[in-house]
């Protein structure tokens, strides 16, 4: 699949990737390299992996990183309960139970990394929010990402039958190590332009009136330029428009107080809510109207 085809099939699965991103994804497949995607929360990093898996018709294996994530949660763990049970069962019997029997694949619990490595089918492995995991875990990942293998001391090295397409995401809350960065291709997803965001929303929410979509996204763009503790991402725009749609709003009203509940889809910290009272929101709404008037004036002249 070349990058054009990939872009199209991502689109069919609800993800509008720009050309550069499609080329990068294609290259990651060609070079069999993991792809590290960075960007603010809500710009579509995780949904990229979901859409890619759908576009390729592959399974998505997801590993959500968090502080204190360790091997037993990420890669594999021995199923002690079953091992104990096996020992008990053999105690009465005549058959000898060897250690190698107990430490075989049968008693190995596969966690996401091992599941992706040992999958019979090619798959997409999403390692989400890698910046939340500890540095020690990052170091462990190096082997997995460079060689696509996991070493289990009791079993030996397990190699991938099919190299999974690995996508790592990070919000940049911690600097990742150079070693990890250099093993990955890199892509930074920024907030989309107005036209792109309109296209994204129209693709995902075709039922919402076009005029409302335009107005709402212009408002969100104006909001992003403000000094917010948490800028609304595309996910927030989509949530807000879904909310407006279900409230049967056709266009943004003059009085923003009517929308105050729906605004909580966009403003997610107390400070931001406090800063954007009805008057401030109305100002931004009015900025929208001025913008439309200017736009029409420009077109008329």
């Amino acid at each position: 699949m070349n990058d054009d085809a990939l872009q199209r099939s991502l689109y069919l699965n609800g993800y509008l990737a720009d050309e550069a991103l499609a080329t990068t994804l294609w290259l990651a497949g060609q070079l069999e390299r993991p792809l590290l995607v960075e960007g603010d929360a809500g710009v579509g990093k995780t949904s990229l992996a979901t859409a890619l898996a759908k576009a390729r018709g592959q399974v998505l294996v997801r590993l959500q990183c968090h502080e204190g994530l360790d091997l037993s949660q990420a890669a594999y763990e021995w199923n002690y309960g079953r091992q104990l049970l096996a020992i008990r069962l053999h105690e009465g019997g005549t058959e000898q139970l060897r250690e190698a029997d107990l430490f075989s694949r049968e008693y190995l619990l596969e966690r996401p990394l091992l599941r992706a490595i040992s999958s019979d089918e090619p798959c997409v492995l999403l390692i989400d929010e890698i910046d939340r995991a500890d540095e020690a875990f990052e170091a462990f990942l190096l082997e997995v990402l460079a060689e696509y293998q996991i070493s289990v001391p009791e079993l030996g090295t397990l190699r991938a039958r099919h190299v999974p397409q690995v996508i790592l995401t990070s919000n940049g809350t911690r600097e990742l190590s150079d070693a990890l960065r250099r093993r990955c291709l890199y892509h930074f997803i920024d907030y989309p332009t107005l036209a792109r965001e309109v296209a994204i929303v129209q693709a995902l929410l075709p039922d919402v009136a076009a005029s409302l979509t335009h107005q709402a996204i212009e408002f969100v763009h104006r909001l992003r330029r403000e000094d917010l503790a948490k800028k609304p991402g595309i996910a927030e725009t989509l949530d807000w428009l879904r909310a407006l749609h279900s409230l049967e709003v056709e266009s943004l009203p003059e009085d923003p107080r009517a929308l105050s509940a729906a605004l909580s889809c966009l403003l997610k910290t107390r400070e931001d809510r406090f800063q954007f009272d009805a008057a401030r929101v109305r100002q931004l709404f009015e900025g929208r109207q001025a913008g439309v008037a200017e736009h029409h004036a420009a077109r008329a002249s």
């Binding site: 990058d3 990068t24 204190g68 940049g172 291709l185 930074f188």
Partner: protein, 392 residues
């Protein structure tokens, strides 16, 4: 008009030349990256040669910093004629650099070489450092830094005596250790921690039939504060900037600080400070060459918290501004920006070269609110020693 001479070098060599340029600008491009760039060009269908921009960007950039600089670096190298408003070296015509032609030649060459012999290809690129050096020799590196407004002109970093350097490094180490000592109330898992996490040990023992095979140990969690240093390199700070950058470099080594320089604009120089070479000074000059006169501390701070450190400016972080506090922005803006940084939880310290804390109008507004946690003079190693005593 005469057509520009065609670059007759081997395509792999040309890629190596580009890689060398990227390396000169602080991107970390090793053999692996160079090899990947060649492979990307070889795999790219000819009609899509223009997409090589995106493909190489994914390979060569490793963080948002590189990512933002890429479009400029790429177009300057491959499309020098498109770049407006920049001065080029005179007296030589640049060979034309055509991406499509490069891809075509590379693919022809690989096809002629019996593709599939991966080893041969690896050998090819393994020899590239030679080509890189050759290219380096032809391009004067510091040409961009030789303007009259260099903040660091004629103050060589090599004027330092080794014992001064050693003393500074030990002082900076002391400060770094003191900052790191801040404990949090949280605990983290540690195989050789001192406290047993009874709850989790019992929970884990359920899997092993009640035997605590896997005790879980914990240790207090330490969060190393992120240190951001913002160094003023405007004219008024000319005589101090060199010392400040020396100190900043030591902090980069000791605790992975991120260092920015500013006067009218702000630029990050952390990657330049990581390597100790004689050209560091020239490179810093090159970064700040186009900044123009005046100091805009508030604008620079806004850029710093809004773009460069947006995700990392959290509670344990420290922001040190190394400046005399003379700001060309409207005086109230500095207080506003400092308040915004403070609101994110970061602590602000102001290090000034003058004996007393800065008293410009902007600074008065900022200090009235207690936004700056600490003012400290930093003009010599003795001041640094006092700072070390203070924090430890």
């Amino acid at each position: 008009m005469q057509p520009a001479p065609v670059d007759a070098r081997d395509p792999i060599e040309r890629i190596a030349g580009f890689a060398a340029t990227l390396r000169d600008h602080g991107l970390s491009i090793g053999i692996a990256e160079q090899l990947a760039m060649v492979r990307a060009a070889a795999a790219m269908p000819l009609e899509r040669a223009a997409h090589l921009d995106a493909a190489w960007r994914a390979i060569a950039c490793h963080d948002p910093r590189d990512w933002r600089r890429w479009p400029d670096l790429f177009s300057r190298y491959w499309y020098p004629n498109r770049t407006r408003g920049s001065t080029r070296l005179s007296g030589q015509t640049r060979a034309s650099r055509n991406l499509r032609q490069l891809v075509e030649e590379l693919q022809d060459r690989l096809a002629a070489q019996q593709p599939g012999t991966a080893r041969e290809r690896t050998m090819d690129t393994a020899q590239q450092p030679l080509a890189v050096d050759a290219d380096d020799a032809g391009v004067p590196r510091a040409n961009a830094g030789a303007s009259l407004s260099d903040p660091l002109h004629d103050r060589s970093m090599s004027q330092w005596l080794p014992q001064d350097l050693a003393q500074m490094e030990s002082l900076v180490d002391r400060i770094a250790r003191a900052l790191r000592r801040r404990l949090t109330r949280r605990w983290r898992d540690a195989p050789n921690g001192a406290r047993l996490d009874m709850r989790r040990t019992l929970r884990a023992s359920l899997r092993t039939g009640g035997l605590p095979v896997h005790p879980v140990w914990r240790t207090p969690r330490r969060v190393a504060p992120r240190l951001f240093m913002l160094v003023d390199v405007s004219r008024s700070m000319e005589t101090h900037a060199q010392f400040f950058l020396r100190v900043a470099r030591a902090f980069v080594t000791a605790m992975d600080a991120r260092v920015f320089v500013f006067h009218t604009r702000l630029a990050e120089i952390t990657p330049l400070l990581r390597s100790d070479s004689a050209t560091v000074q020239e490179k810093v000059n090159a970064v700040t060459a186009g900044f123009g006169g005046g100091t805009r501390i508030a604008t620079s701070l806004a850029d710093f918290r809004g773009v460069h450190a947006r995700a990392q400016l959290t509670r344990p972080s420290q922001v040190w501004v190394l400046s005399d506090g003379f700001d060309a922005d409207p005086p109230h803006r500095l207080a506003e920006e400092l308040r915004a940084v403070r609101r994110r939880g970061a602590r602000i310290a102001w290090l000034h070269p003058s004996p007393n804390a800065p008293v410009s109008e902007a600074m008065r507004a900022a200090t009235a609110d207690g936004l700056v946690e600490r003012f400290h003079r930093l003009d010599s190693l003795a001041d640094l020693a006092k700072l070390a005593d203070l924090v430890s």
